[in-house]
């Protein structure tokens, strides 16, 4: 194998244990040097690609999601989801253009169109609040803690993209029924916003940490939820000190 071919093979398979490559490396110092350089580069490449990942948190979230799937009502949820699939399928194409949200209004519109109805349908099949542990874990990742007044209302929660980085998509129960809340922990607004989403009232309110869009609540239920969110979504340390 000539040197040029050898280097090409190294670039394609630097970890290869092909006897032909090993023999070439052991036969000639120039080949051995190229192999050492390739191994060093590969180490850098592996380090660069090894972005951090919280495996424990992921597995906890996955277990909860699997548990939700096992509960009675799954068939009903699937039926509802199927009926919504066409709308979701169309909206997903718009939704993923997240990097170019023109405004918070635009984000809320597209996010709700993406999976708002589907998650409402899923939450509607559940008989009680989501496990407080999962709610707390997700909210804690944003540096906020949920009090029981909030976690008792959470029928569904998941991570989701927001205008600025990661956020949470929640379905909360109110006296009027289920309401969608999109929590944007890194978004700040100077004044409340009010608009329509899919024919429903939507408002974006400012919180101690970030902002939240409340979709599908009447003015009264919206005010009720806003108070709950303001009370609950505060910096974890501040919340702890109140508790103690």
């Amino acid at each position: 194998m000539n040197f040029s071919e050898y280097k090409r093979r190294l670039n394609a398979e630097p970890r290869s244990q092909d006897p032909e490559l090993l023999a070439a490396r052991n036969h000639d110092a120039r080949y051995a040097e190229a192999a050492a350089e390739a191994a060093a580069f590969e180490h850098k490449l592996e380090q660069a690609l090894a972005v951090p990942h919280d495996s424990d948190a992921f597995l906890a979230t996955l277990r909860d999601a699997m548990e939700q799937d096992r509960k009675p009502g799954k068939a009903r949820w699937l039926a509802l989801a199927a009926s919504l699939s066409m709308a979701v399928g169309l909206s997903v194409l718009l939704y993923w253009n997240h990097a170019s949200y023109r405004s918070i209004n635009h984000y809320v519109q597209e996010h709700y169109a993406h999976d708002g109805p589907e998650l409402l349908a899923r939450a509607a099949t559940l008989t009680g609040p989501m496990a407080a542990k999962q709610t707390n874990e997700i909210l804690a990742s944003f540096g906020v803690s949920a009090n029981p007044a909030l976690s008792d209302r959470v029928r569904f929660i998941k991570f989701c993209p927001s205008v600025h980085g990661r956020g949470a998509h929640m379905v909360l129960s109110t006296t009027e029924g289920l309401v969608t809340v999109m929590y944007m922990p890194k978004t700040s607004i100077s004044k409340p916003m009010l608009f329509e989403v899919d024919g429903q009232r939507a408002e974006v309110v400012s919180l101690e940490l970030g902002a939240a869009a409340i979709v599908g609540a009447s003015e009264q239920a919206g005010q009720e939820l806003e108070a709950v969110l303001r009370e609950a979504l505060v910096a974890a340390a501040a919340s702890d000190s109140v508790d103690t």
Binding site: Q47, A50, P52, F58, T61
Partner: protein
């Protein structure tokens, strides 16, 4: 242990083994942390529903990759979002790295993100997922020679970028 809990335990072991690599693969594929987490969760939920169909556990990794790629393709079929989010990630900073090594790693990350998808994806499948060239060829539906060419070009571009802009070059542009 009941059969049901045994199946759950086997699936959880599978998730434990592969979730980090799949997350990294998804992240470098779509370039967005939250979307990558969603993709991986959806992958495992779909895998869980079809777990009874997985006969050969040695095929599990390829099976999961197939599900994730299908999910990614379904989602991004017509509109691929710009690869923009890596800059915002809080990436681990091993303490043993010198400032120069960190700068070089960051440059390498930006260069990987800038690779064309046809070069980046085989590289991810090889380095992150640990697939052989034959397995990558199967996943991507192309020949082994084409895979090797793409891998060679991917690394050649990254090395060229490092040599041009790396620690012997424009390192100060990084700060």
């Amino acid at each position: 242990m009941s059969n049901k809990s045994g199946v759950t335990a086997r699936f959880e072991a599978l998730a434990l083994t592969h979730n980090t690599a799949l997350y990294r693969y998804a992240l470098w594929l779509c370039g967005n942390d939250a979307l990558a987490k969603d993709l991986v969760q959806e992958t495992f939920l779909r895998a869980w529903k079809a777990f009874h169909r997985l006969q050969d556990k040695r095929a599990a990794k390829s099976w999961l990759i197939t599900i994730l790629r299908r999910e990614y393709a379904r989602t991004f079929e017509r509109k691929v979002p710009p690869f923009t989010d890596l800059e915002g990630l809080e990436l681990e900073e091993p303490s043993e790295l010198t400032p120069e090594a960190r700068a070089e790693r960051d440059l390498l990350r930006r260069s990987i993100a800038a690779l064309q998808p046809r070069y980046r994806e085989p590289l991810l499948l090889q380095v992150v997922m640990g697939l052989s060239c034959d397995e990558i060829a199967l996943q991507l539906g192309i020949g082994k020679n084409a895979v090797m060419t793409q891998l060679h070009r991917a690394r050649a571009q990254l090395k060229e970028k490092l040599q041009r802009d790396g620690i012997t070059g424009n390192i100060h542009e990084l700060f």
